[in-house]
């Protein structure tokens, strides 16, 4: 385990892709301080910005303090655990391919963008575009799970093609826009235009939303796979009540302005 404590209050952004269990595991503990980060437009050693306290062998990184100006923590990680006691910055866990990130605080935009595998668990709120695809990409998140106990911003899960995003609070507008696969679960209010232009995938809304007119109702049911997924998410820490898990859902198909192969489940009772 390595504990990182910020030495300074960051006023300008820091790019710290090196804060990843994969990178840390490849180096002896005493050399971790030499890893390079970008502080604004200047290259600095990690030790100049963080107090580094290695203890033990497990590939866990613990960050104690506010790192909301530090971007790209855990980017492309494939294994291990990062625990952040504080707020974290943009691009946390982007393109990650395994391992776990737990944040006891809020996170900025682009959380887990284009991630392929692994689990991100955020106890607070997150910004926009969690699990989305970067501008110009054909696909966003392809696998793994993002669990957000607070609220999330706009365009969450845009272009996603696999994996699961579960939000206990509310979602902003355009959740699941252009998605082709994967699942978005929202316990609170689902924002406007959810699933716009979706060609596949599933959105599960436990609070009845205002859907686009291009989603066509297909009847009401208690789908077992939805119940199973919610049960599993509850096991992963999403605060779900039993009546929510076994609820009755109205099923919609859309977005029929495109292929119309996506589905939205809306809790009706």
């Amino acid at each position: 385990m390595v504990v990182l404590r910020p030495k300074v209050a960051f006023t300008i952004p820091v790019e710290a892709e090196c804060i990843s269990p994969d990178v840390f595991a490849a180096r002896p503990a005493k050399e971790l301080g030499k890893l390079e980060v970008l502080w604004g437009n200047k290259r600095k050693p990690l030790s100049q910005l963080f107090e580094i306290d290695p203890s033990g062998e497990e590939d866990e990184i613990v960050i104690e303090g506010d790192v909301s100006a530090v971007k790209h923590i855990g980017a492309r990680m494939t294994t291990g655990l990062i625990t952040i006691h504080g707020n974290a910055g943009m691009h946390l866990g982007t393109e990650m391919d395994g391992g776990r990130i737990v944040v006891h605080g809020d996170v900025g935009d682009w959380l887990g963008a284009e991630m392929k595998d692994g689990l991100i668990h955020v106890k607070g709120n997150t910004g926009n575009l969690a699990g989305a695809g970067y501008r110009g990409s054909k696909t966003g998140m392809a696998g793994g799970s993002i669990i957000i106990e607070g609220n999330a911003g706009d365009e969450v899960g845009e272009l996603m093609c696999g994996g699961t995003i579960a939000v206990a609070g509310s979602l902003g507008t355009f959740a699941g826009t252009l998605m082709t696969g994967g699942t978005i679960v929202c316990l609170g209010a689902l924002g406007g235009r959810a699933g716009a232009a979706m060609d596949g995938g599933t959105i599960i809304a436990l609070t009845p939303p205002q859907l686009l007119p291009t989603f066509i109702p297909q009847g009401t049911d208690r789908p077992s796979h939805v119940g199973e997924l919610l049960q599993q998410l509850k096991g992963n820490g999403l605060p779900l009540a039993e009546e929510q898990i076994g609820a009755l859902f109205a099923r919609y198909e859309g977005d029929i302005s495109g292929k119309g192969k996506g589905e939205v489940f809306v809790r009706t009772g």
Binding site: Y134, R135, G136
Partner: protein, 539 residues
Amino acid sequence: MSLVIENGTVYDPANGIDGEKMDIFIKDGKIVEEAKGKVIDATGLIVFPGGLDIHTHISGGKVNLGRLFRPEDHRKDPVPKTAVTRAGTGYSIPTTYVTGYRYATMGYTTVMEPAITPLSARHTHEELNDTPILDKAAYTLLGNNHFVMHYIKEGDRENLKNTIAWFLGASKGYAVKLVNPGGVENWKWGRDVESLDDPVDNYDVTPREVLAGLARANDEMGLPHPIHVHANNLGMPGNYETTIETINAVKDRIHLTHLQFQAYTGEGWKDFGSGMAEIAKLINRCDHVTCDMGQVLFDETTTMTADGPAQHHLYRLTGNKWINADVEMETGAGIVPYRYLERNPVNAVQWAIGLEVALMITDPWKVSLTTDHPNGGPFYHYPKIISWLMSKKERETTLGTIHKAAAARAILASLDREYSLYEIAVITRAATAKTLGLKGKGHLGIGADADLAIYRFSEDDIEGSFKRTVYTIKDGRIVVKNGEVVATPEGKTYWIDAGGELTDEDRQVFAKYYTMTLENYPVQAEYLPRGEAVRCGGI
């Protein structure tokens, strides 16, 4: 400022120098007989004239649209600033500054933007001005121009030349470019042309007449570069016949650009193969034809051309995102991202055909090395192409990893020819300069521009040898040292000053149909702060 380059092994095909140890003297930006100054010890190094690229899409409306709609392309290739260079991005559509730096690092000092529409020529020149180090010029799209087709139909040769001259001056262009003559005009009505004798809607002319008319006018005007032709049916199976017809349709000089894309046999994609045998046979017999390769590489890139219908075809094939543009009265454009795959039989055959262009045309003076950047792949891959041309072993290694169609449906596997350094200097320097009619470029004779590339050459790593220079010298100034850009002077922009004036009738048409007034149309001299007017035989 003077420089002496001592004891290098010099390759200067234009002056018949093939690997001779000699000293080169530079004074005030030119090669001179004798000078005293800073000495560069080139012992063990090879000295080439600065490289020239005859066809590379680096500037203008279409290129910039490509930049705008491919953020994912830039994300994979960020370029930080240094003490002398600016920050930017690659990859297939690099920023103007990165374009300049990367060409210079490879030893290139002169590049040609091959497609400007007069209507957006200002944009092209603004970007060329921001492309550092290199000398530049741009070709003006005239193959689907209203006035050109009108005068060809009328058979009014004097006014045709007058029009060409005026448009070259108005766009500050250097050569006459044709892209799918007639086809792009028809595309505005949802059609294309399929042969040289297909009529062009509303004009009552054929592609054959446009080709022959422009080629003849071009040579009568004494323009330095032949007509620069992207022929009809680009990228279509069986199009080698169109290419042969195109060559036969003109009696005057013609430059066939990215010939690889024009040399396909087959009825469809299943029996797609190489048609270079027939084309090479014809070009080897003709003295009026030059060409460039249009090599493809197995990489992801962004295809862009004024050939709207061809790009629509590619969009339908790939399902990728697509930009289509109509440029009133003048031309069109299309952009589609594309990835050439080693395991794709068509892409593998395309790769082989590109190399066949250089290997089967016997006279290297008829060939220039290009990828039609970025259509076949980014220009950074030129060193890889040089390694394929210089080494059969390199070609066999690649043939072993790609789809077997490349060996079965192209002739490449049976070709033993290997380029020498002298011939590489021909197709990347001397021949290109000659085809462009740039007398001060592509050679190291007395009075030539002091543009040089000095490499450390190793037979075992041809690609690495040409990737970065030990020195690149531009106008007598060291701009790259040991692969790092050390200075970024501004280059010149050549354009043709041949006079020309619109007739009263033309002015009326202009006022009626253009969205811009004539007074605001021509690019003013201020847009080319380092412009260099080239006067031609003229009218």
